[in-house]
Amino acid sequence: MKKTILVCCGTGCIAGGSLAVAAALKEKISELNADAAVETGIKQTGCNGFCEHGPIVKIMPDDISYYRVRVKDTAEIIGNLGKKPVERLLYRDDAGKRVKSQMENPFYATQKKLVLRNIGDIDPGNINDYIFRGGYEALKKALSTPPEDIISEVEKSGLRGRGGAGFPTGRKWRIAAGYDNFPKYVIMNGDEGDPGAFMDRSILEGDPHSVLEGIAICALAIGASEGFLYIREEYPLALRNVKKALADAENAGILGDSIFNSGKSLHLSVVRGGGAFVCGESTAMITSIEGGIGQPRAKYLYPTEQGLWNKPTVMNNVETFSNIPLIIGDGGAKFAEIGTENSKGTKVFALVGKIRRSGLVEVPMGTTLREIIFDIGGGIPGERRFKAVQIGGPSGGCLPESLLDVSVDFDTLLSYGAMMGSGGMIVMDERTCMVEVAKYNVEFLAKECCGTCVPCREGLRKLLDILTKICGGTGDNADLEMVESICEALKETSRCGLGKTAANPVLTSLKYFPGEYEEHIAQKRCKAGVCGMGEAK
C-alpha cells in the first residue's frame, strides 16, 4: 500500500535539522527497489506544534509519529516501513508507555484542530494539497452568495477576532460593507508581537492558503479588491510560504484579476513589518502601510469607516481569517456549536514556560486552564508547584492557582483582569517572583510603546522605576499608591490599546499576589529568591 512520510519542516523542526532528515529519507527511499520507491511518497509539512520534541516524522496511513528524529535514524525508519514501528522514536506517555499514533500522545489527545486542520498533513508549498482537502471550495461558494449572506453567516458563527480584543468579526465586516466609499481595503494582521507567541507564524507557514481564502471571502463580503498582508520581518519562512501561496493562487486563477473567472478581482501584496510591538495595533499598522511611522492614530475614528488612506478597511488577525473558510464551507451554525455562549470556536495558544509539554495547542473555547496546563501540557516539571499563568501577552494578566478551573473565553478572562490577547500562555512555577514578572512586562512595554502619550510613556517609565525599587528592597507603601494612580490613568487616558491594557500584569499581580509586594516592601524579602535584595539598582 502507498505510504506517505510527512516530515515536519516548520521553523522549530528545521532548527532541529529536519531538512537534513527529509533529504536523508528521500535518499533512502530512492535506494529501495523500484516498486517500493514508487509506493513511498515524502512530504514536507508545516509545524506540528510540538517543536520541542522535533524533528517530527509521521508515517501515513499507518499513523505512526516519530519524535526527535536524527539523520542516523532514517535508514531504520525506511527499513521498518510496513513492519513494526521504530520503538525508541515513539512518544512515551505519562504512564511510560510508547505510543504509536499522534492521538494517543497526551499532548494532542484532547486538542481540537479546526484552525490547525491541515497543518502537519499538507505541504504548504503545494496548492493542490490544499485544494485536494477541500480548499477554496468555500471561496467558490462565497462567489455565488450575496455579500449580505456571507456576512450573516459569519455573524451567525459568533466568531470574534483572535488578534486581541475579540471584536465580533461579522459585525466588523457589516460596518465596512455599509459604507459606499470605494476602494475599500482588507488587511491581514500578521505582526504577532507577543514574545514567545508563534500561533500566527505556524498558520502562515503551514497552511497559508487557508488564510488567503479567508481574506478573499472577506474582500467579497465588504467589496474590496485590494489588500495587504502584514507579516513581521523575523518570519522568513512565513514570508516565503505566503508569497509562494499567493503566486500559486494567482497563477491558478483563484486570486488576482478574476477570481475563478467571476470578473471580480483581488490583488494582495505582502508588507514586511520590521516594527515594534505597537505596530500590531490596527491604526499604527495602517499608518505603517501608508509609509508613515508606526504609531497609533489620535483620532476617534474606526478603520472600518476611515482606515487605510481614509477608506473603509477591515483588519483581521491571521487566525481569524483562517476560521472563515470553515464557517462559509460548513455554515455558521455548525461553527457555533463549538465553544461557549459568547466565545465560539477554538483558540490556538502558544503554551510555554515552566511546563512539561510546551507547544502550539488548539482547544475549544471554554476549556479550563487546568485542562490546558495539566492534561495537555503535563503540568510543571520537576515536582515543583504551579504558581501563575500569564495569558494575553505582555499586557495580559497573571492568574493564580485558585483560578485554574475558570473557563478560557474572552469574557471570563477579562473579568479576572487577564485577556485573551492573541493567545500567548506563559506558565510560571514557584520559583517565580511576581513583582519581578510585573517589572519585566512593564519594562518590555516601556520600550515597545510608541512613546507618544504621557500616561503610557511617563506612566510606564515611573512604574518601571518604582518596581525596580521594590525589587531592590527599597520600596515603600507610598509607592503602591502611586502605582494605583498610574494604573488608573493608563487604563482610562492612554491613546491606544497598548497603554489601556499595560496595567494588567501589575494590577493582577497586586490583586492575586499582594503578599509578595508586602514581603518585598516590609521585610525586604523575595521568597522566590529572584530579587537580589539590598542591591537597589
Partner: protein
C-alpha cells in the same frame, strides 16, 4: 448644534472638537499639546473629559480630538478627571525637573507637589515630548527635526542626531514649544539652533536682526514678488507697505 458641557448649553460647530467648543463657550480645559494651528497631537492627555451617551454610559476621552456630537453630554471637571490630570501632571513634572511656564501653572492649579524622588533626575530635561515642534517644522515643509526612538527612549532630534540639511534656522520649533525646551541662542549676528549656526539678517529699517539668511533664501524660493519686502522685519514691512502702497 447644541451640546451640554458641565450643565451649560453650548453652541458647537459640526466637526470641531469638544475642546474647541468648550473654550469658545468660556469653559476652561487644560491642555499642553493643543495648538489651534497644529491640532491633533493628542499626547499630553491633560484635556481628558468624561462623556456620557444617551444610555448613561460614561467614557473618558481626549477632548482635543473627540468630535462634538449632540448625543453626548460632557463633564470636564469630575473628581475622576481631576485625579487623572493630577497623575499625568505628576508624571510629566517628575520627568522634567525644571518645570516652568504653563506646566508649572497647571501643577499649582492641580496641587501637584513635584516629587521626583523615584526618578533618576533627568538633568536639565525640559522637553515633554509633545511633538509640537516637529509638527510645526513639518507644516512649514522642512521636516528638519523628528521624534527619534520609541517608548521611554523617545527624543526630539534632527535625523541621525546630526545638524540637519533641511533646517533653515527659523526657530519656529522653539517658538511653539510650551516649555522652552529648545536651545536657541542669538548672539553677535548669529543664531545657534539644533547644532547649526546661522547668520542673522538685520532689518533695513529698524536694524533689528529678524531672520536668518537661510530662512530668507527659503522664503524667496516660496514667494513670487517679495524681493523688496524681505529686506524688512515683519513690523517694518507692514509700515513700509502702507507708506508705499505696495
Amino acid at each position: 448644534m447644541n451640546i451640554q458641557i458641565d450643565g451649560k448649553t453650548c453652541i458647537a460647530e459640526p466637526g470641531e472638537s469638544i475642546l474647541e467648543t468648550a473654550r469658545r463657550n468660556n469653559i476652561d480645559i487644560p491642555s499642553l499639546c493643543h495648538h489651534e494651528a497644529l491640532p491633533g497631537l493628542a499626547c499630553c492627555r491633560l484635556c481628558v473629559v468624561e462623556i456620557e451617551d444617551a444610555t448613561g454610559n460614561r467614557l473618558v476621552v481626549a477632548s482635543c480630538v473627540y468630535p462634538v456630537a449632540e448625543s453626548v453630554t460632557v463633564y470636564t471637571n469630575t473628581e475622576k478627571i481631576k485625579k487623572h490630570r493630577r497623575t499625568n501632571l505628576t508624571l510629566l513634572a517628575g520627568h522634567v525637573p525644571e518645570v516652568k511656564g504653563v506646566l508649572l501653572a497647571y501643577c499649582r492649579e492641580y496641587g501637584v507637589i513635584r516629587d521626583d524622588s523615584h526618578m533618576k533626575a533627568v538633568v536639565k530635561e525640559k522637553c515633554i515630548l509633545c511633538g509640537l515642534c516637529v509638527t510645526a517644522c513639518e507644516a512649514l515643509g522642512n521636516s528638519a527635526i523628528q521624534m527619534a526612538m520609541r517608548g521611554i527612549d523617545r527624543v526630539v532630534a534632527p535625523p541621525f542626531n546630526e545638524p540637519s540639511l533641511n533646517c533653515i534656522g527659523c526657530a519656529s520649533c522653539a517658538r511653539v514649544c510650551p516649555t522652552d525646551a529648545i536651545d536657541c541662542e542669538s548672539v553677535s549676528g548669529n543664531r545657534k539652533i539644533w547644532g547649526k549656526t546661522f547668520s542673522l539678517v538685520k532689518c533695513a529699517a529698524c536694524g533689528e536682526p529678524y531672520a536668518t539668511v537661510d530662512e530668507l533664501d527659503w522664503l524667496k524660493g516660496k514667494l513670487l514678488d517679495t524681493e523688496l519686502n524681505l529686506a524688512y522685519c515683519p513690523n517694518c514691512r507692514r509700515r513700509v507697505s502702507v507708506n508705499t502702497g505696495k
